[in-house]
Symmetry: C2
Subunit: 243 residues, 2 copies
DNA sequence: TTAATAGTGTCTTTCAGACAATATTAT
DNA sequence: ATAATATTGTCTGAAAGACACTATTAA
């Protein structure tokens, strides 16, 4: 967008082929120990009746603001973490016209059912393994979002974005287990989390009672001030690396 | 982009406010041990005479293809690594109209001076610390690209994208030193690189002669098949983490 | 010969992961 | 009492980083 030809062309914006820019949000939360994604059912063609990521056109606002707005239309957000994921703009990804979608990734604590927005027919939290056959290229976007989320748990304290403001180490471990899809050793996880500077800080309180089926009352923590985890909480298994 | 209202609106693409989508490329290489970025001098308003990242409008092609094309117009590319960085779309980032820019990050081996493209007035490799006061929001894009590049050296074998097809461990170390801006311990780096499975593989050859000021001939390696480094080549210092 | 560099060896500290042990609490 | 769970302890092996050492080569 810096050549002279481009500049001249820009004198008449209508001279450009029509393109639209939207945002789509991969909003993740954990319900009943399962990783869930917020999906809406499309009411109109194309892909009518199919599930899709919530999203919409970017108005006279930043893409970040658009994503936040779209998310707010579907959920009573509050404390959500929101970050840009990737932009999808292959020709033909929307049969109607050229549409570029700036995808976002959101992490939210367990929330009540989303309010049926005025816009979307129906919005609901769906376990990610059941979120298939989505509209447009949203399967790909969701997969990329999950990859990113799984990677970010390793080296950032974002797991705390899935919990309430105060949480136990076991709750934090449940977040990792849900996102990574594998159980973690309770003892090692506990020691590891407490050893990373700034990951969590103690509130001095404990839970009011022990677990459902017994056990001592657990200490409560809140998120610390670290932005990166050092050392990182590495994901297990993986074996000989993903070549 | 899934509501009925949106769908109806899409019947007349011209009903949308005019927006444009461009790509901008943060192309990095190493010359004389210094990390350099490819910049072009703008010939037209706005920001005439200022340096900018190479880029241009996305045509009837994927954003990836557009970035590759723009890069090819400035350099004799070959073996470049190209990945999407982030999308910038704040209102007002281009004074002419609403422009969303999908930024890309490219790593290239040391190249001859870029050919003066038909498009851009002049393109040249500039040491990153001198790349300031760029046009538009390109300072921000460059900074984000550098952050990404520095992080990716840690856990991916992308440093090899900066070298020729065959390289010595010392050359690889020079890449890390240039990108991270700090020297690395030669002995430990050497052992570390060879210990990571799939990072490099030996060619069985050595350099024709030793270093400029003496020293043995070094063994030559080529890039291995690893996509991720396990364990990672962690960046030194950082101290108490970036809180 | 001298200086620079490639590559290897050794030691200490840190950390991950396996496993065990203890304490606390719901049922 | 029993079972489940929180938390801490111990041990082993991997890996990072500091440092030293040897071998090779250009000047």
């Amino acid at each position: 967008m810096q050549s002279e030809a481009d500049f001249l062309a820009s004198y008449d914006p209508r001279a450009f082929p029509a393109v639209a820019v939207t945002v789509d949000v991969v909003a993740l939360t954990i319900r009943d120990g399962r990783l869930c994604v917020l999906l809406v059912e499309r009411g109109a063609q194309p892909f009518a009746g199919r599930l899709a990521l919530p999203g919409g056109f970017v108005r006279d606002e930043s893409p970040d603001a658009a994503a936040l707005r779209e998310l707010g239309e579907e959920t009573a957000l509050a404390r959500v973490h929101l970050e840009q994921l990737k932009t999808y703009g292959d020709p033909g990804r929307d049969p109607r016209m050229r549409v570029f979608s700036v995808a976002y990734l959101a992490f939210a604590p367990s929330l009540p059912d989303p309010r049926a927005g005025s816009d979307a027919a129906a919005a609901s939290w769906i376990p990610v393994e059941q979120a298939t056959d989505l509209a447009f290229d949203h399967d790909t976007i969701l997969a990329d979002g999950l990859d990113r989320a799984r990677a970010k748990l390793e080296y950032t304290p974002l797991a705390t974005a899935f919990t309430g403001p105060e949480f136990t180490i076991a709750e934090l471990r449940a977040v990792y287990a849900a996102v990574w899809g594998e159980d973690l050793h309770a003892g090692n996880f506990h020691r590891k989390v407490l050893s990373v500077p700034g990951f969590v800080e103690s509130t001095g309180e404990t839970t009011a009672r022990g677990g459902e089926r017994g056990g001592p009352r657990a200490k409560l923590y809140r998120a610390g001030d670290a932005r990166l985890l050092h050392p990182a909480l590495l994901r297990p298994a993986r074996e000989e690396g993903i070549r």
